[in-house]
Subunit: 389 residues, 2 copies
Amino acid sequence: MREVAILGVGQTKFGELWDRSFREIGIEAGFAALQSSKLSSRDLSALYIGNMASGTYIDQEHVAPLVLDYSGLAGHHLPSVRVEAGGASGAVALHQGYLAVASGLYDFVVVGGAEKMTDVPEERGSAIASSAVDQEWETVFGATMPGLWALIAQRHMHEHGTKREDFAQMAVLDHEHAGKNPFAHYRNKISLDAVLSSTPVASPLGMLDCAPSSDGAAAVVLGPLERARKFTDTPIKISASQIATDTMAVMHRRDVTTLDATVLAAKRAFQRSGLEPSKIQLAEVHDSYSIGGLIALEDLGFFPKGKAGGALADGGLGLGGKLVLNPSGGLKAQGQPFGAVGIAQVAEIVRQLRGEAGDRQVSGATAGLAHNVGGTGATAVVTILERVN
Amino acid sequence: MREVAILGVGQTKFGELWDRSFREIGIEAGFAALQSSKLSSRDLSALYIGNMASGTYIDQEHVAPLVLDYSGLAGHHLPSVRVEAGGASGAVALHQGYLAVASGLYDFVVVGGAEKMTDVPEERGSAIASSAVDQEWETVFGATMPGLWALIAQRHMHEHGTKREDFAQMAVLDHEHAGKNPFAHYRNKISLDAVLSSTPVASPLGMLDCAPSSDGAAAVVLGPLERARKFTDTPIKISASQIATDTMAVMHRRDVTTLDATVLAAKRAFQRSGLEPSKIQLAEVHDSYSIGGLIALEDLGFFPKGKAGGALADGGLGLGGKLVLNPSGGLKAQGQPFGAVGIAQVAEIVRQLRGEAGDRQVSGATAGLAHNVGGTGATAVVTILERVN
């Protein structure tokens, strides 16, 4: 199969974008990605869209041709495909775009991710978010998304001695980084005390442990690596894109303090890329709940089981460290438009590897990893990106 | 890219399956496809699911890992991906499975399509169906799915002299064939008079011009053609799988009596396969509304514009003819579980090319075509399948 490169990235600001529609944010991100790549829309051969729940958030399915149409590209009659995998919809869509180019059937492909979440009442939003977990075996008994992550947190504390402060630190770090990211939903700093004393959601998780509902879109342009130099001076290679799955319900898992889907996706991705965790200088991990970010650090192989908490508490994962965690601000502070998250993570890594990340630049980064999760880990995707010299 | 073959197919009965859940029908179809292919679940490398609107029909997103999990395969941690493209979700999912195998990253892949439509009240069902067309430019003004197809029919009658009886004949033919298909939702014959005098839905379309809401699932197993003989004596080659798109809203189209997405997907598919319409002995076309089937015959190149009506009225498209249309009974009579339709069409062609279609066998068939549409034609997919000698 052909090697695949990312030629450009684009993104809207994440937040409560009440004055703009789904199609508008999709188009903004797509065109920004095209501009960043020096491709023209005439060069494109397909469009992929990652989106979790447009059918319920905006009463609209079939959103891939919708975005294509309102981009003014309907006349090209390009193939357009929507992909859904809960909060991992973005990275799973990226995987399909990657296969499309790798197969040789398509040359240049835009992969976008978009979600418009803030136009529904909050209770409705919670119900929609929970439709990514098992409705018949979890939600029906009252287990919501934060409730399930809280159970995971409790068990992690019990088994591995993790402290409440350890994962609270994840949110502090995210907000620190997001302050330097103009696309971020929340750019304010927060203190550890603020997280610890935030309104309880599901014990031990407080409001500031939970990523927000956000509107937003992000996009990347993919093409064959061998032709990438024509369109960018700094092509970024997709060294691996790997998906793994697990049971939908948390209770059916071997060990609820580990996401086996993450472990396996990471293992396959490191194997395919020929890299190992120590070669990664920055990682965007899926921290829809702060405990999820902590567990990801362990499951991805950056720290042994039970040791990520200490690493977070000690600091050292911020800018200037050996491994920089969530330079974008992560889901907690950059924001969490479900379908866009996985693409925004990759976009941030590309900006970093290109040296275009401004105040939050990780200096000299050559390899980064993105980790995107659907539900409570029924889907996990690991994408490894490298700068090509 | 590698050539891709279909190694097995499976399907549930289509209909009002009130005693069975989404996950149950998905599993039944998947296992039937595996059995028909002589593969074991251990041979699989990925699962794709085409599904339009599980988020609204059954309040459950993230259905690809759901089906994988309840198949007992969560322990394999296989990648699983849901694809959505309105009523074309099935064929678009098949396209992704095809790319997955063609790329070389995956070897054996199950592609399923499933929808559970009959557990919601009728009015709710209509609203969900209409979420595949442009909510902001069509539905908001009262244009429903049958309303839009009725406008298309009116214009086709006006411009091409098509008669009401011509497309009514499509429904008659479908029911005739479905009588021989044990999977079909409706197995009764209907007369031309019955269609013409059926309850008006949107003039000129009556109730019997409209495909039903159905529950159902279908699945196929894909693998590299070069390894296919190990798993089946009669591998069926995917000679082409092509997607094209168009504007979401009918009013924005060049010509509302033609689906340009169909024309282009067909042109690209015939080009890729090296075949032409005269070499196709059977076709499954997307007749969610009878007029859609008539227009497909023209847009696919089987008849010149304005001539398909006469061909339908004259008969000759039934079993024993040069081109057999919808041997399965089509969407009208086999049924229309949105996500499953495109896979069921392909499954029927595979059964026919393998000589396993029982009473409705098209004798000596070597090449068949499936045509799957999303919305009113914003997505169209053409798949060409050939028997390998």
